[in-house]
Amino acid sequence: MTIDNRRHWYTGIALLAKTAARTFSTLRSHRLGRFVPFLGVLLFGAIVLWFINTIAPLAPFVYSLF
């Protein structure tokens, strides 16, 4: 199997997705399958918070529009 030596623009996103998937499968391996949907909710929350965090510096400007 050839090893891809480069980091691409999508590498980060791909890795994050693979990490999430690997964590789900780890939970199953450790007989914690019930936690999988729970982790899904947490990850969704993390994405929401990440988005809010990204725009947080702009919050006063956004607020001033209303």
């Binding site: 980091r7 590498t11 791909a14 890795l15 994050l16 964590t23 780890t26 450790h30 936690f35």
Partner: protein, 614 residues
């Protein structure tokens, strides 16, 4: 093959580079960032490793991370939810830390090093300890015991290791799961005793020397030995998930009394002469202080019993003469000595940094070995893997330092004459340097010794050490008071040249080869006890370093030269670090500690700097 091992995330971040089966460099991040137990991405440690080999991250074939973040997070999540509904705060903090950062460690590594993910591997935490313990031991085969606070899911783990077709084969025999953790129990008791957990377990071990194990039966009920020689921890006494807020419960406090506040005095003194139990009568021991010592002694005793039990179990599952022991608990030198005396194993190997900082080495070596570039059984390594510095340009500033400006900023309580100045002298040879330094040591000076590459691991082994003659307890007390800020109940230790080890140590001489790295508390021969009394604990033992010329020629030369004057080649050796900070790495840090404290002389490689009056 170029493999970089990385450990970071919880405490003691480190990095290690192995090129074609040889360790090129390794260091803990804290040495560079000056933050004790720095848990962050080891930027500077990695930089040091790559610089040493003149590589860039792009040149790396493989990067190996020391734990499985997915498995660890599954355990963290489980542990945070289990105490529902009383663990909201811990759950929130854990999830923030993990989903904010820690779970994405592999991506962080890829991003920070600009290395493709295909080049990044990882091991489970205890397996990292296992490979660190086995590879480098020199054993063809061995039983491997890992006792730690907690890794991914495991707290204690048993393996067997062997070299098969030129590759290391390490098989898991048993993993004892969280929360049954001997390491966490010991750390919880450390916190209860008012010390910093994950940092000052050595204080608990030292305090145990003054206690009586009157609570041992109670602790045995808490850490129950089971029929299969394993153990179980009664969780109703502990609150591991809220460790820094309060790791013991009301039930524990009811059983053992109120916890110690960090300012409560512990008036035990290693240096007192001929008092019962080594207590000093200069200051009377309160009942609380004695209680704390007794708790320490009790938990120490039961820890030893449980680990011995694990060793017995391991031997039954993997009969071998050889034991590799690693994990944070293997820093407990009193325990290690007991293992040496009483376990069924003839030979014990403990790596120079058996804690989390050492897992970067194991990870890198293992990956190298699987890649086929490691000569089996031939790799053993010394701890001197850190950075070295040319002191010339820093020493050149000595004559420009206006010491009168520094006098107002000395360590609190220390005064020096107003006309103190610094002088420096560079020697042409190690012989001349050692001769002069030996004379200074004989004259009861406190000498900072900074030489070569700094050590990997928590022990100062003659490259970043503070040295004094080991017979003078008043001098050792001055060292504690004016230099190290060290509590009187914490003993010092000594280094001895290999040639004089048999003269000094009351152990079978065949064991001297295991005493290289201050990992065992051993008794000394009665006939020399007076000569080393400042480096003994109250029970007459010391945590010894036997120094041989091949591993550290300069330090060995100093010991030998001093030994000719003193009668035996031993020096009280304590780590070169100000209280609360990591061991010094650079000449500037060494100089800063030297000028601010009661040290009399500083050796930077071949340059000697002294404080002189007039």
């Amino acid at each position: 093959m170029k493999v970089l091992g990385i450990s970071y995330g919880y405490h003691d971040s480190s990095a290690c580079l192995v090129v074609d089966g040889r360790i090129v460099a390794g260091a803990a991040e804290e040495r560079f960032t000056r933050q004790k137990h720095d848990p962050n991405f080891p930027t500077y440690a990695i930089e040091h490793c790559l610089e040493k080999a003149r590589l860039t991250p792009r040149d790396l074939d493989e990067v190996v991370f020391h734990e499985d973040p997915h498995a660890k997070f599954s355990r963290v999540l489980c542990a945070a939810v289990a105490p529902f509904p009383g663990s909201r705060k811990e759950f929130v903090n854990s999830v923030k830390a993990w989903l904010g950062r820690k779970l994405w460690s592999l991506n962080t590594i890829s991003k920070r090093l600009n290395v493709a993910p295909d080049r990044i591997s990882y091991l489970s935490h205890h397996f990292s300890h296992a490979v660190t313990g086995f590879i480098g031991s020199g054993f063809d085969e061995a039983a491997i015991l890992i006792v730690d606070a907690v890794g991914d899911w495991a707290c204690s783990a048993l393996y067997k290791g062997a070299w098969v077709d030129g590759k290391p084969k390490i098989d898991r025999l048993l993993e004892i799961a969280y929360p049954n953790s001997l390491g966490l129990v010991y750390s919880a008791v450390t916190a209860y005793l008012g010390f910093n957990p994950n940092d000052s377990e050595c204080s608990t071990m030292a305090l145990a020397g003054f206690g009586r194990p009157i609570f041992a039966d109670k602790i045995r009920e808490i850490i129950t030995k089971l029929d299969d020689d394993s153990y179980e921890v009664d969780q109703s006494y502990f609150s591991f998930q809220s460790f820094y807020r309060g790791p013991v419960t009301e039930r524990f406090l009811k059983a053992f009394g109120p916890a110690r506040a960090t300012n409560d005095k512990l008036p035990f003194n290693c240096f007192s002469d001929g008092q019962s139990n080594g207590h000093s009568t200069e200051e009377s021991i309160s009942s609380d202080a004695q209680r704390f010592a007794d708790v320490a002694a009790s938990v120490q005793l039961v820890l030893e019993e449980r680990v011995l039990g694990l060793a017995q179990k391991l031997h039954s599952m993997a009969p071998s003469e050889n034991l590799c022991f690693a994990g944070g608990v293997s820093l407990n030198c009193v325990l290690n000595s007991r293992l040496l005396r009483e376990s069924p194993f003839e030979n014990i190997y403990i790596p120079p940094d058996p804690g989390d900082g050492g897992t970067a080495i194991g990870a890198a070596l293992y990956c190298s070995a699987l890649g086929g570039s490691l000569a089996p059984r031939s790799l053993s390594y010394s701890p001197y893997l850190g950075a070295e510095f040319d002191e010339t340009s820093d020493a050149a500033m000595v004559k420009h330092i206006k010491f009168e400006h520094i006098l107002g900023y000395l360590k609190r309580g220390l005064t020096l004459p107003a006309n103190t100045r610094l002088t420096s002298k560079t020697f042409d040879s190690d012989e001349a340097l050692c001769e002069e330094v030996s004379t200074l040591l004989m004259e009861r000076n406190i000498v900072g010794w900074f030489n070569g590459r700094f050590e990997l691991g928590p022990r100062a082994l003659g490259n970043r050490s503070i040295l004094v003659r080991p017979d003078d307890t008043a001098l050792a007390e001055r060292l504690s008071r004016t230099v190290k800020d060290r509590a009187a109940f914490r003993p010092y230790a000594f280094s001895v040249s290999e040639e004089d080890a048999t003269k000094a140590l009351a152990i079978d001489p065949s064991l001297n080869r295991m005493m290289r790295w201050m990992q065992y508390a051993v008794p000394v021969r009665p006939e020399i006890a007076n000569q080393v009394r400042a480096a003994l604990h109250v029970d007459g033992t010391t945590r010894v370093q036997v120094c041989n010329a091949s591993e550290n020629p300069t330090y060995h030369a100093l010991l030998t030269t001093f030994g000719r004057k003193f009668g035996i080649g031993t020096l009280l050796n304590t780590s070169f670090n100000p209280s609360g900070y990591p061991i010094v790495a650079t000449p500037v840090e060494a100089m800063a500690m030297f000028v601010r404290t009661g040290m009399d002389a500083l050796v930077l490689n071949r340059t000697l700097i002294r404080k002189e009056v007039g």
